[in-house]
């Protein structure tokens, strides 16, 4: 049973989300201008390096989203009071994560076409990232199974905790198998930065900007989920009341 009372607000926005939204617009505008105009082309990769300003931050946000999903799911499962708020955050984060994972794979494919001459290579990191995407699409399918919100929350929390086991596999796949994927180029093993200053700052801004987009989307999405759950619940209550009234009138 949902513990929340009927919402008093008519929108999902608050003062906090508006501030996050405004910050997001400012940072993303800077990333757009700097990434497309101000930063130089790469000596080796040419103009295709600009894809990096979208690809790397979206990959970061996708992984962050899946980690948030796992943490929120763990809180739902292990906390004494199984708060559905954690379930909604987990679900919202997975949805946003899947979206950013698709962006990561699409931008990666475009970069691969320009650099490797192919849209897709059976590179371990690419392949396992695609598997990770399918895993979270499955997670979202589990969330849409029949049942109460509590059933949905418990099932999906368990699936999220199992799915997170795949993230280390993705990370270490580069080490385990021979890989075509671009190795870490920003920091070498000694910690020395090997990138033009403005390019590095733009990339960093992209990571911040995409993270703000993620936060903004999560805040709104989990509130729309709450409204949806409440609407379903009130619809059910109304239907039960209508049947009761029918039986009384008979």
């Amino acid at each position: 049973m949902l513990s929340q009372s009927a919402p008093k607000f008519s929108s999902t926005g608050t003062q906090a989300t508006r501030i996050v939204g405004a910050l997001t617009i400012i940072v993303m505008t800077w990333v757009l201008i700097s990434g497309l105009v101000l930063t130089p082309a790469d000596v080796v990769q040419g103009e295709s390096v600009r894809i990096m300003y979208v690809h790397v931050p979206s990959a970061w946000v996708a992984y962050l989203a899946f980690i948030v999903t796992a943490i929120a799911s763990a809180f739902y499962i292990f906390a004494k009071r199984h708060s559905l708020g954690f379930d909604r955050v987990a679900g919202a984060s997975a949805e946003v994560g899947v979206m950013f994972m698709v962006i990561t794979l699409v931008t990666g494919s475009l970069w691969g076409r320009l650099t490797w001459g192919e849209f897709w290579q059976w590179d371990p990191r690419l392949t396992t990232t695609a598997f990770l995407l399918v895993t979270y699409v499955g997670y979202l399918a589990v969330r849409r199974l029949d049942g109460s919100v509590e059933q949905r929350a418990r099932r999906s929390a368990v699936i999220a905790l199992l799915a997170v086991l795949e993230i280390p596999l993705v990370h270490f796949s580069v080490v385990f198998w021979r890989s075509l994927h671009q190795r870490a180029t920003i920091l070498d093993p000694n910690g020395d930065v090997k990138m033009d200053g403005l390019m590095l700052f733009t990339l960093f801004s992209g990571v911040v900007g995409f993270t703000l987009v993620f936060v903004w989307l999560i805040l709104h999405r989990q509130r729309t989920m709450l409204l949806s759950d409440l609407a379903n619940q009130s619809g059910l209550d109304a239907a039960i009341l209508a049947r009761q009234n029918e039986s009384v009138s008979i």
Binding site: V137, G138, R154, R155, L162
Partner: protein
């Protein structure tokens, strides 16, 4: 004393569920009459599709494990369809027994059925694809089959329990299972290739992949025993 009693009770539940699943199979013969012919047909269809003896010998390992995984879906769905019909799974749940014991009982029964299936599939590969194996390769192959099917048994039981009784389980189960079993497909294929000496692979290369299969089985054995209860406890 109390701990010993709980352990004994768990073992009895697990063995009862294990015997129940195998007895149902012995009476219905779904695996022997339907799944085995289906898996055999897949092996024949692969031969039609690839139409080259050299290619078939090279990819035989992968084909055996793909046929195993496709058959896994059918066996798991069949097993849980029986458990959910007449609310048999609900009866087990309300009986107050330890659900991790139910998980282990079902997983071991599924593993045994998969081992029997793989024996037939490997036999079919010897006949149809003309593969060969050395004595040392047999040891690797047997270990690989045991480790891989154990992992598949655990993960199949876990996700089968999740989708049991839900609408669209026929499509949801492959969607959930395929990404999870991908490491088993890769590792078991590489280990089998090493055992068969396909593409010049050495037998020693296969043992590292068997290690990965063992880790997979251990992770999903522990994870499954913890998660199975919450997944079906509704």
């Amino acid at each position: 004393m109390k701990k010993t009693a709980i352990k004994t009770a768990k073992r009895r539940v697990a063995s009862a569920v294990f015997i129940k699943d195998l007895r149902i199979e012995a009476r219905s013969r779904v695996v022997t009459n339907q799944v085995l012919p289906f898996a055999g047909l897949i092996m024949v269809m692969f031969a039609f599709a690839l139409d080259n003896d050299d290619v078939l010998q090279r990819v035989a390992g992968g084909l055996i494990w793909l046929a195993t995984i496709f058959s896994l879906f059918i066996i798991v769905q069949r097993s849980f369809a029986i458990d959910t019909s007449d609310s048999a799974l609900d009866s087990l749940r309300v009986a107050g027994i330890d659900l991790s014991a139910v998980f282990f009982g079902k997983a071991v029964a599924l593993t045994l059925q998969l081992i029997a299936l793989d024996v037939v599939l490997i036999g079919a590969a010897f006949l149809l694809y003309q593969i060969q194996v050395s004595a040392l390769g047999v040891v690797l192959l047997v270990t690989c089959v045991v480790c891989a099917t154990t992992g598949l048994g655990f993960v199949g039981t876990l996700y089968g329990g999740l989708t049991a009784g839900t609408n669209g389980r026929e499509t949801l189960l492959p969607l959930l299972l395929l990404p999870v079993v991908a490491p088993v497909l890769i590792a078991a294929t590489r280990a089998t290739e090493a055992a068969l000496g396909s593409s010049g692979a050495e037998i020693s290369e296969g043992w590292a992949w068997v290690g990965l299969l063992t880790i997979f089985a251990a992770v999903f054995g522990v994870g499954g025993s913890l998660a199975f209860g919450p997944l079906i406890d509704e």
